[in-house]
């Protein structure tokens, strides 16, 4: 019953979001409509749909797309490591980066931190970042320095080496952070 009602509500002019909830014993239906849609008309038509589908009355709220809070983009053009997570039942590692609202995922074999480093470079290229680097190696830091990895990258044009150090919740996480740290000044 609710599914059929929701389908009808979503076909009303400008409606792009429908939710149902209860508060203080009253049923509410919240509709978000596109800019320019007539709220009163949408509410009236929604009320007619509700009568056909629900036994009890519902309070209908029509609102525009919330714009009072700006979409948070603290990173601007910066590259952000979204997540490093196990994939394919633990056989692989997925690295997700984002930049300017775009997101890109790349994959590496689990247990190979150098492969994670390469996956980070691939993801950066997927985000259209110019990265003329290759992974030379990822090395565990001496234990007295804490749990972390040292990433060494080579500039394929000049041969110059870049190094970055980072820790993480897991070696793969630390590897991704260390590679990004090595590239920090160039990204």
């Amino acid at each position: 019953m609710k599914d059929a009602l929701e389908l009808e509500l979503r076909q009303l002019p400008g409606v792009s979001f429908v939710s149902f909830f209860e508060e203080g014993g009253t049923s509410y239906i919240e509709l978000v409509v596109a800019e320019g849609a007539e709220h009163a008309r949408v509410r009236e038509e929604a009320a007619r749909c509700v009568v056909n589908h629900l036994e009890a009355p519902a309070d209908i709220r029509v609102m525009g797309v919330p714009s009072e809070v700006q979409v948070d983009q603290p990173s601007g053009n910066r590259v952000v490591l979204v997540v490093v997570l196990p994939s394919d039942g633990g056989a692989a590692i997925e690295v997700q980066l984002s930049r300017s609202g775009r997101q890109y995922a790349s994959q590496a074999v689990a247990g190979d931190t150098a492969a994670v480093g390469r996956a980070v470079l691939d993801a950066l290229r997927g985000l259209d970042v110019y990265v003329p680097y290759e992974v030379v190696g990822l090395h565990a830091l001496p234990s007295e320095w804490g749990a972390g990895l040292l990433a060494v990258l080579r500039d394929t044009n000049t041969g110059q080496l870049r190094r970055g150090v980072a820790g993480g919740r897991a070696p793969a996480d630390a590897a991704a952070r260390a590679v990004l740290n090595a590239l920090n000044r160039s990204l």
């Binding site: 007619r48 994939s87 994959q107 074999v109 996956a119």
Partner: protein, 287 residues
Amino acid sequence: MGEGPSSLAPALGGASEAPLPAPPDIDGSIAELPGLLARSENGIQFIYQSLELIAARYRLSDLAIVVQQPDRPQVFRLKRAPLGAGPKPVPTYLQRALSGAPGVYADPPVVGTLVAAALVSLAELALRLDVLGHDASHDSLTGLLNRRSYELLLEQATSRARRYGWPFALVLLDLDDFKVVNDRYGHAAGDAALRAVGEELRAALRSGDVAARLGGDEFALLVVGVENAASLSPILGRLKRALERAVPQTTVGFSVGVACFPSDTEEPDALMGMADERLYAAKATLG
């Protein structure tokens, strides 16, 4: 999510010394989606169930999906939850979802790209099928059920009524002299009047009753819990007032033919035929 499944290819190809890993599919979420779609009664149910599935798999506190449709995007949120309008700001990921770019918006943002792409594609298909199904069963002008759906519903109502002994009335309703509206005010005004009649019919009926447009200016109602035509007086009174509001330019009236289950007959075709005969008898008295 910025990239689709094909975006994984460079990453896979880059690791030449290692065997190519399978596409990322945490805990087999993708494999479960088609089965879920097949088991769902409709597209909307599928969308919410798949959001539940993905949220549980990734241990998400919230999840929204944006599905592109021909005219505009549609945003769905886990558990049909509201935006929480009020002093509390709408979370950023939901604002991004409401901006309408198709994709998956999760808190935390950890849904794999391939899972997101599969979910969006299947949800898009499921919702489109829902809309097509709705269009095929409803009259495009008034939004009421069409003749075919009404006839199916009548058969179902008859079966239920036989099993449980629930009475109902079939009402055929035909606008009198509606041609005058078309001739005097044009077809656009006629269409607007029919739309208004449809809206008023819907508003005048109780929950559980059904209104349909059979064609032209002929409508049909299925009114539950009514044992004889006399019990319909209050409803017909509401309809008369509603019709006067719907077509105020002229004094268009309407004629009705009523047949009741089980007092008149228990057969759907016979009910229809009987209501039709009574409608034409009522029309004949208008002269």
